[in-house]
Symmetry: C2
Subunit: 318 residues, 2 copies
């Protein structure tokens, strides 16, 4: 699928702005309510996780759309709903994030200790170095497992409490309103203009990104995290104006790279955090240091991957 850039002078699938916006918000609100029912009725853990993912997905789309197309919507209503949706999707995302982080760090430790040719090809004098990391890596894996499993369990409880709270019921009521009737501001123009503005904000933020060349400098991550959010808003705005739920695959690649960037940055921070656990053994701390640096290099690799995907997206080649 070729990407359609939002050129107001070009061939663009024009439709009534508020019809497209209303249709999109209604369908996402319906999806929100459907996944909520599914979440309540699901028994198996896998089903619950799928339902929670669908719920977060719809909540992010509603929140992003309220943001990008704010002038077309009832301002008081949407300004009140947006932070509540952000709270909800943020709270629901935690449990999943801790699980993913544990898996990412476990895979990395596995890779760091098992990389290499078959044992027969190893030189004898290199065996001690390999073993030293192996011992520390096993202890580091156990430590991370304890810490992140505990955090995930807590996040699970917090999510369950959130879904039973009156705060959540107020959000669900507002989304139910949205499913039947979208509160519009009365303005009936500017849908494409607002979508173009979202695209411009993204393009400007990407242009301002610098490759720092300092992979260990977590302070430099912030503009990249910001671009990740702006890319998300751009994709949702595209879904609204193109009336097509399938985003451009190249935008998906760029988004995927920025998700990896975020995941690797948080995994690196988790490794650093685990290394500050009192009374750990030096080999464990050493393995966590290797792991931290490895994840910071994954952060760097994700930046390069994003730039390549973005470049392909810009020049329009597949």
């Amino acid at each position: 699928m070729a990407q359609q850039h939002l050129d107001p002078s070009g061939p663009f699938p024009v439709q009534d702005g508020t019809t497209a916006l209303g249709g999109y918000l209604r369908s996402q609100a319906t999806e929100f309510l459907r996944s909520l029912r599914q979440h309540r009725e699901s028994g198996a853990a896998g089903d619950t996780a799928d339902a929670a993912r669908a719920l977060r997905r719809a909540a992010r789309r509603i929140s992003g759309t309220l943001h990008t197309f704010r002038p077309l919507l009832d301002a008081d209503w949407s300004d009140a709903l947006r932070p509540e949706l952000a709270w909800l999707s943020g709270t629901l995302a935690q449990e999943h994030a801790y699980g993913e982080r544990l898996e990412r760090l476990g895979d990395a430790l596995q890779r760091l200790t098992t990389a290499g040719p078959a044992p027969a090809a190893r030189l004898p004098q290199q065996a001690p170095a390999t073993n030293a990391l192996t011992v520390g890596a096993a202890k580091a894996a156990a430590l991370l497992d304890r810490q992140l499993t505990l955090a995930r369990t807590r996040a699970h409880s917090t999510a369950l409490q959130a879904l039973g709270s009156s705060r959540f019921h107020a959000v669900a009521d507002n989304v139910a309103v949205l499913a039947s009737e979208v509160p519009l501001s009365g303005a009936d123009t500017g849908l494409n203009k607002l979508a173009l503005e979202a695209e411009s904000r993204l393009a400007e933020a990407v242009a301002a990104l610098r490759h720092t060349g300092h992979p260990y400098n977590a302070d430099a991550d912030t503009p990249w995290h910001h671009v990740r959010l702006l890319l998300r808003l751009h994709r949702y705005a595209q879904e609204v104006v193109l009336d097509d739920p399938r985003a451009d695959p190249r935008l998906c690649e760029a988004a995927h790279a920025l998700n990896t960037h975020r995941d690797a940055a948080e995994a690196a921070a988790a490794a650093a955090q685990a290394a500050r656990t009192p009374r750990i053994a030096p080999p464990t701390a050493y393995a966590l240091g290797v792991l931290h640096a490895d994840q910071r290099h994954e952060v760097e690799a994700a930046r390069i991957e994003f730039r390549q995907a973005w470049q392909r997206e810009r020049v329009g080649t597949p």
Copy 2:
């Protein structure tokens, strides 16, 4: 300067083979003896280091030339001299290598802890992570300084002992013979053929290199170290047959990348070794883990740099 590939059918500066070989070996032997005098007469540490570097440089060139052009030389004589020259340049290289390694690791630790924007731009919650690495990095730097300075001091004593030994005097006597009269085998052809064979061995070894994608796998370094030695032999053979002491700048880039590869691999091993020091604090071990991984990524970067330089060398673009 454009590179001249050694095509026997092409326009090639043909000269009498043994004349070129003899001239080259005599000039390197003269250089060896000159730097040896300079080393003995030098007072300042910097002058001594320069003289030792020139001595190693000549010893490597003589040894490599004896290897590549072995059929043209008195076999017994050159087979006896080569390992002695290797012993000498290896022994003299150690002190310098420990000093360079300490500098490389110190610079890396500096970079790891000071990278980032001005303090005002930092977010407050990121300060503890930065400080944790800073504390460990300072201790790691002190530990590496102690260990590598001790090793360098020992290497210095070993080098002084070597230069005063009867074994060394035998080497110097043999090199003095070489400066006046090169012991030839009697064969008078095949200089270009032997140089081409050295080039072929290099090309085959480069073609067999694989990018492992496992930056922490030190076992995979060996073929790269071998290519480094073959590239050195190729460069020296070029110096002989082209009668030009200035190697092609692109070959210099490739050689530089492989030197960095070797230095980073040894620095990574030194960081891992330091982490096995008994009773170090966990933050020190953590910083050494970060440092180890950082140097392994420098190993990876050097491989990419080598491939790029080699590609430029092959296609003949500047």
